[in-house]
Structures are given as C-alpha cells and as structure tokens.
C-alpha cells in the first residue's frame, strides 16, 4: 500500500550546531493528529518545556503543510507556522496560502522544524535531498521583495518559493509575519518574530518529487465532485469577483463592522472603503493560491499621489477594517499604502491597525503625550497617522518601538486604566468582527487557543448571522435559522464547540477555510468530502465522524499546551469594553455581551472541562490523549475526573 498525500519526511534543522536530521513520518501519529499542523502541535507539546521564552533559542518554529497541500484539493495551497507565540506566550499557529507549502512537500518534507538560534543571519535552502544553511548576506535588513530577489539571485534558482521575514521580523516586532509569494502572510501571533529571533531570514524550497496517490480513480472522482461543489457554492461569485473586501459592506449593513476602536459596529462613510470603490479605482488583478478555483487575492495599485504604492496583494477585508473604519479613516489610498508597507516589512495588518487605534485612544485619554509621539498629534480619521505609524512600528522608530510590543505589554507599561482600553484576549489583538454584534464571536474570541481570533477554526461569525451551516448539522450544529446573532443562549456555546471541532479538521488537513463555508451542506468542501478524498489519498479508511473526533482531539491538545503555560478561566474572559459598554450607533446600537460568564460555563460543560477550563481526565482519555493527561498530572496540574 502507498501512503499517499504525505511527503513522508520530517526535516529537523538545529541552527546552533548546524545538525540536519531527516526523520520518517510515523503513520499512526499522522493519522491520530491528521498530519502536518496537528502533528506539529503534538511535537511542540512534547518538546517545549513550559515557560520557555518565545523569542529565545529554546523555542521551536515548525513550518508545516497538511496532507491536502500540494494536491488538487481546493484551497490546498495552505501551510502553517506552528510555534509558541511572542505575543501571547501560548500555543500559536498562523496559516498562509500561496505556493510555499506545496513546494515544501514536492521537496519531500511534511514539516521543517527550526531549533536553536543561528550565530549569524542565515537562510535555509531546501531542494529535494539537498539541505543547506547559507549566509543571508545582503538580504538581511532588506524589505521582503528585495530580499527575495537577492536570495533567488544567490541561489540561481528562480523557481524557488520562499517563506521570508521582513525588517519587522528581524527587529522582533511582536506581531511580525512570515511572508511567502511576496504578499501571502502567516500573519497572526508574531510567528515572524520567532523566525527573526532565530536569525533566519528565509526558508527557500524547491522540489521535484511526487506526492503519491493511493487510489487514483477514487481520488479523481472525489476531486471532480469537490470542484463541482465549490463552483456551485453561492459564495463562489463573492470570492471570485470581489474577494474578501466584499465583507466591508455586508458586515457594516449588519452592524458588525468594528469602528472607532470598536465603540460602534457601523461606519457611516463605509462607501468610501467599499469593494466597489476598490475595484473601480485601484484593482489590477485577481490571483489565486495553488489549486484554488476562487482566486480571491486582490492586487491593487495606487498610481500617484502621496500614497503611491506599486502593485501588491491586498488590502483584504481585515486590513480595510482595522486600518480604515477602526481608525475612522475613509481614505482607501492610505489603507492600500499601509497594507503595502505591512507586506514589504512583513507585519500582521490586523495587529498593526489595532495598535495604531489603541495609540490614538491612549493619546486622546492623555496616556500617551506629545513627548512620546515626538510632536505628532494622534487623532481619529487621520490617514497620515496610519501610514506614518505603520512605518515607525515596522522599523521600531520613536513611538513605534513601544507599539511593536503588542497591546498587553504597552498597556502594562502605560499603566493607569490603559488595560481597560485594550481589546484583546490572551494578548492577541481584536480582528474585524464585532463580538457584541455576533455573540458567538465573543465566545470564540474568548476560547480560541491562540487568543482573540475570528478565523480559527471555522468561520464562527457565520451560523447565526448568515444563517449558514456549512454541512455541520451532522456534527451537532443547531439549526441557525431561529437563532439571532444577539442571543446569548446555550445554543451559542454549542455553535462555537462544533465550529471549533470541525474547523480544526480543515486547518490540520491543510486547506483554506473559504471553501468550507457555505450556506448549506450540499456545496463546498464538507467534512464528508474531506473523508472520501483523504481515504483515497492515503489508503486509510477514515470517515467524517473520525475526522471531527480528531478535530476535537487537536483542540484539547492545544488547550493542554496552554493549560501547562498557566491558562485558566481568567484568561478566557473577554475585554472589559465588550462586557460593559454599549455599541454606539447603527443597526446593533446598544448591544453588549451581558452573560459572558454564563456562556463560558455552558461552553466548558459542553467541552467536558471543569469550571476553571481545565479538560477533565475522562475527556482526555476519551480522546485518546492518555499521555497528555499523564504529562499534565506529572507537572502538578490536578485533573478532575
């Protein structure tokens, strides 16, 4: 039997002593944790001691692609960076698209584990069996596009695909991203800072090996069915013709577009940042990640004016919101310019936009003064502030040096009541979905293992707002048609649990979530279709229930990692503003998360966790996480039965 789908080898590179080890992928482990990203979490749990410094040499950075990456499965261009986050100090995984993940698998590796720290700035060259640690030379310190050109020139291999950090990653900006294909970013949680801390500028890969298929005929049929389903998905038109910026209008109409540092869910000048405006004036091309029918990536160009920026991917919806309405800015040119700067410096646009909004509010409240800003007035709706601060954060100049530390560290440093203004969970800044307008989003922010995140694991904003089920009824998702987004019922806890379990399946298998969201179960990439394709690729007989179970297992494993780092109920509580202040205007005016603690109780109960949020022993055993349970008990954490 051929174990298809997987590349079959794990590459381990110790940067300190330059030791390179190739380990075979264990099939039973791959099946238990659904391959790449899931297995990376297990490796991190096993090999990282609790409390290690995320930016120290003891931390490990794992670049990994799932079993579907590099195959024809829709959205199979995905790869993930799994590590301990310098922003949250907890488990983190950041997903990116493009072509890097597939190329890594064509080179023969399911994951590349980076250990230790290199003495001098270097980059890695992985070409089939050849693995080299090379001097970064002139590439160090350069913005992403320039550095990528220098490295490709140095290698003489223009077909190489690079995962690369920009100056922000080198300067350890705590929300730096790892970029690939110039404008695809593994953005959240500061994975770029981890790579920078290891003195690694880039990982360049090139491969000409096969990804084998166990049963080609069944695989072909499954792929055709998936392709058909994806193209019949009602969301196809949205992603193919408009891309994610289309959400600006729809979320605003709903009153769920975080505006003015999330004081409101509605932006009155939204038309100036709408997808129509972007498309008519600045869009130059739509591009796709590997094996994707949608092609949602938007290339924009500002040809002239103060915010001139060359053609580059973006801005995406999250960028537009966090750098636009969130700051009360309606200048799309400035937003595009800031997005461009984030791309070339390698930074997360969500956290960057958030930090600027936080700075403006602190300035307004007198917590930051003109002395700290070197005479710059920070005010709402000023595009100059956005572009200027983005550049300052990336290069850590002036006030940027402070803001680059992430919201929690900045708030601690500013003292007084700054922490009350910080909208984050576990240290990760808020993305562009209002938790007060969509209550399951509040619970998702609170319980997601990497902090306030809207996207891991499923599009949790979907079910009650868009009345979409994405085929998850079979795994316990309540019928959303009668549930209002503003409800704070037990159903909401159920929605979050099911979405997180199901969402972990496609994250671990290595596909994009845009194909899995769909208004009904008949279209798009459902868990059932995943199961058929996975069985055909690998030769395992695996069904959808087993996949969802594995998704739950992974979620609990991630939680166990965080529990070991000290996460308890107190860390699952969302920011004060969301629980106490009412939304100002728009359709959701007056909304506030009132019963958050009760929803959290229901959530813990459904998860099989105790009242402190620690998984019960029976739950861990049910999920075959015996060794994890033993490990936790040995580290002095008492598990309830």
């Amino acid at each position: 039997m051929v174990l298809g789908g997987f590349a079959g080898t794990i590459l381990r590179i110790n940067l300190k002593n330059k030791k390179i080890i190739k380990e075979p992928l264990k099939e039973d482990q791959a099946r238990k944790y659904l391959g790449g990203p899931g297995l990376a979490t297990k490796i991190l749990f096993d090999e990282l001691k609790p409390g290690v410094d995320p930016l120290g040499p003891e931390n490990k950075l794992i670049l990994t692609a799932g079993v579907m990456a590099g195959t024809l499965c829709e959205g199979g261009g995905s790869w993930q960076a799994v590590t301990k986050s310098p922003l949250t100090g907890l488990w983190a995984a950041a997903r990116s698209g493009g072509f890097f993940g597939p190329e890594m698998k064509y080179a023969g590796y399911d994951m590349i584990i980076l250990e230790g720290r290199a003495e001098k700035p270097c980059y890695l060259w992985v070409c089939n069996d050849l693995v080299e640690i090379r001097d970064a030379g002139d590439a160090w310190g350069k913005p992403v596009p320039e550095a990528e050109a220098i490295i490709k020139e140095d290698l003489g291999e223009y077909q190489a695909r690079l995962a690369i950090v920009g100056p922000a990653g080198e300067k350890l900006v705590r929300f730096a991203a790892i970029m690939n294909d110039l404008c695809r970013a593994a953005g959240r949680c500061g994975v770029g800072a981890v790579m920078g801390s290891k003195n690694v500028k880039a990982v360049a890969v090139r491969g000409t090996k096969d990804i084998k298929v166990n049963d080609p005929e069944t695989c072909r049929k499954a792929l055709i069915e998936i392709e058909k389903a994806v193209r019949n998905n009602p969301l196809y038109a949205l992603y193919a013709y408009e891309g994610t910026p289309a959400y600006t209008g729809s979320l605003n109409a709903f009153g769920a577009l975080p505006t003015w540092h999330d004081r409101s869910g509605y932006f009155d000048r939204w038309e100036n940042v709408s997808v129509e405006k972007l498309r008519r004036n600045y869009l130059v091309k739509a591009r796709a990640c590997q094996a994707c029918s949608y092609g949602c990536e938007r290339y924009s160009e500002i040809k002239s004016g103060p915010y001139r920026s060359p053609p580059m991917g973006g801005p995406e919806y999250e960028t537009i919101d966090l750098m636009g309405p969130y700051l009360r800015i309606d200048n799309l040119e400035a937003i595009t310019r800031a997005s461009y700067l984030c791309n070339i410096y390698g930074m997360d646009t969500i956290s960057t936009g958030y930090m600027i909004a936080f700075a403006v509010e602190c300035f307004e409240k007198g917590l930051i003064t003109l002395k700290e800003t070197e005479g710059m007035r920070l005010s709402w709706g000023d595009p100059e502030v956005l572009v200027d601060l983005t550049e300052k954060i990336a290069t850590r100049q002036g006030i940027g040096d402070l803001l680059a530390e992430g919201v929690v560290r900045v708030a601690e440093k500013l003292g007084k009541n700054a922490m009350d203004l910080a909208l984050h969970v576990k240290g990760l800044e808020q993305p562009g979905h209002s938790p007060r307008a969509i209550k399951e989003m509040a619970l998702q922010y609170g319980t997601c293992n990497r902090g306030a995140c809207h996207i891991r694991y499923h599009w949790v904003g979907n079910p009650s707002m868009f009345k979409a089920t994405s085929g998850m009824e079979a795994y316990g998702l309540p019928d959303p048609s009668n549930i209002s987004p503003l409800d704070e019922s037990k159903e909401k806890a159920k929605i979050v649990v099911v979405c997180q379990n199901c969402g972990n399946v496609h994250e671990a298998l290595g596909t994009c979530l845009f194909h899995t969201s769909s208004p009904n179960g008949e279209t798009g990439l459902t868990i059932k279709r995943f199961a058929i394709l996975l069985s055909a690729l690998t030769g395992w007989e695996i069904n959808d229930q087993e996949l969802v179970k594995a998704g739950e297992r992974l979620f609990n494993l991630e939680r166990a990692f965080n529990i070991r780092e000290g996460v308890r109920r107190k860390d699952d509580i969302i920011a004060k503003r969301w629980r106490t202040e009412k939304l100002l205007n728009g359709p959701t005016e007056g909304a506030v998360v009132e019963n958050y603690e009760r929803m959290l109780d229901w959530y813990y109960e459904l998860r099989g966790w105790d009242s402190e949020g620690v998984p019960r022993k029976s739950k861990l055993l049910e999920l075959e996480l015996d060794e994890v349970a033993t490990h936790l008990e040995n580290s002095g954490i008492s598990l309830k039965e």
């Binding site: 195959t71 392709e227 739509a286 590997q290 094996a291 994707c292």
Partner: protein, 164 residues
C-alpha cells in the same frame, strides 16, 4: 471541419496551477508540477501565463531516433516512450520550454492533447484555456482584445475585473 487547437487567454489567468496539477495527476497518477506537460509562469508584479505546447513539431524533427509521431486524429505530436533514450535534443529544440525530461523516469514528456479531450481545459476555473477550432479561437481572441472579460459558456463575467 478544421482540427481543434489549444489556445489561451492569459489575461484571465489567476495562476492557480490547476491545469498543471491535473496534467501530472492524469498522466503520471501523482501530484508533481515538475512532471506536468503544461506550465504556468508566475512573475511579479502580477504576471500569470500558462505556457502550452502549440504542436509545432520542431521536437519531432530534432529527435535523432524518430521517436515522435503526429497523431492524425488530434494533430498532436506524441512521444513513443519505449523508444525515447532521454538524449534531450527535443528539449533543446523546443522554443517554448514546454517539453521537458520527466524528473522521475528521465523520458521526454510533452502535451499530447489527451487524445482530443485535454484535462487542463476541463478544469480551468477561469476559462483561460480552451480547445476549439482555429477560427473560433481567433474570434474569441478578437472579442478579448475588444471587450475585455467575456465569458464562454457562462452568463457572468469571469476572471479579470471589468477594468481589464
């Protein structure tokens, strides 16, 4: 009726490489772009172009052992893998770089139009590739040059935005 040809509208290409992967999957039963008979150039700032074999036959003339023949039904130049000695002269002759040596078997590989039903065309999500009679291809090209994004067999516009 004139023989159909494979043609492209590169303006619409998003660079998803579905054609590349389907080609390697159908021909070699694996996923490996290096074993594909079609290639996509991805270049910055935003260039995506599928490179196809136009069946010109220069490789056929270059082959020292006459291991290539034209299929009378499809007009495609087809390699006899049994005879191929992996000398690589056909690769040198190909002006488009779409004829390569398979990294696994070492034999020359090139597009054979899948016997008259090209897989790449069937799976292209943006209708970049099409397999039609020459005059129909010329007509579509004129439309493309004139009116930007048009659709073939679909009602809604596909691919590039209205401005292109």
């Amino acid at each position: 009726m004139a023989q159909k040809i494979l043609a492209v509208h590169p303006e619409r290409c998003t660079g998803c490489e579905k054609c590349v992967l389907w080609c390697s999957f159908i021909k070699s039963k694996v996923f490996n772009p290096a074993r594909s008979r079609i290639h996509v150039i991805r270049s910055e700032p935003y260039v995506d172009i599928p490179m196809i074999c136009i069946q010109c036959g220069l490789c056929m003339d270059a082959c020292p052992i006459k291991a290539m023949n034209r299929n009378p039904k499809t007009n495609a130049v087809v390699i006899d893998e049994e005879k191929c000695t992996s000398c690589g002269r056909c690769v040198t002759a190909c002006p488009y770089g779409v004829l390569t040596l398979d990294p696994v078997t070492g034999k020359a590989i090139k597009c054979d139009l899948c016997g008259g039903d090209p897989e790449c065309v069937k799976h292209c999500p943006k209708k970049v590739l099409y397999y039609v009679e020459p005059n129909k291809a010329a007509y579509l090209r004129r439309l493309m040059e004139y009116g930007g994004a048009i659709s073939i067999g679909r009602k809604e516009p596909i691919g590039p935005p209205e401005r292109l």
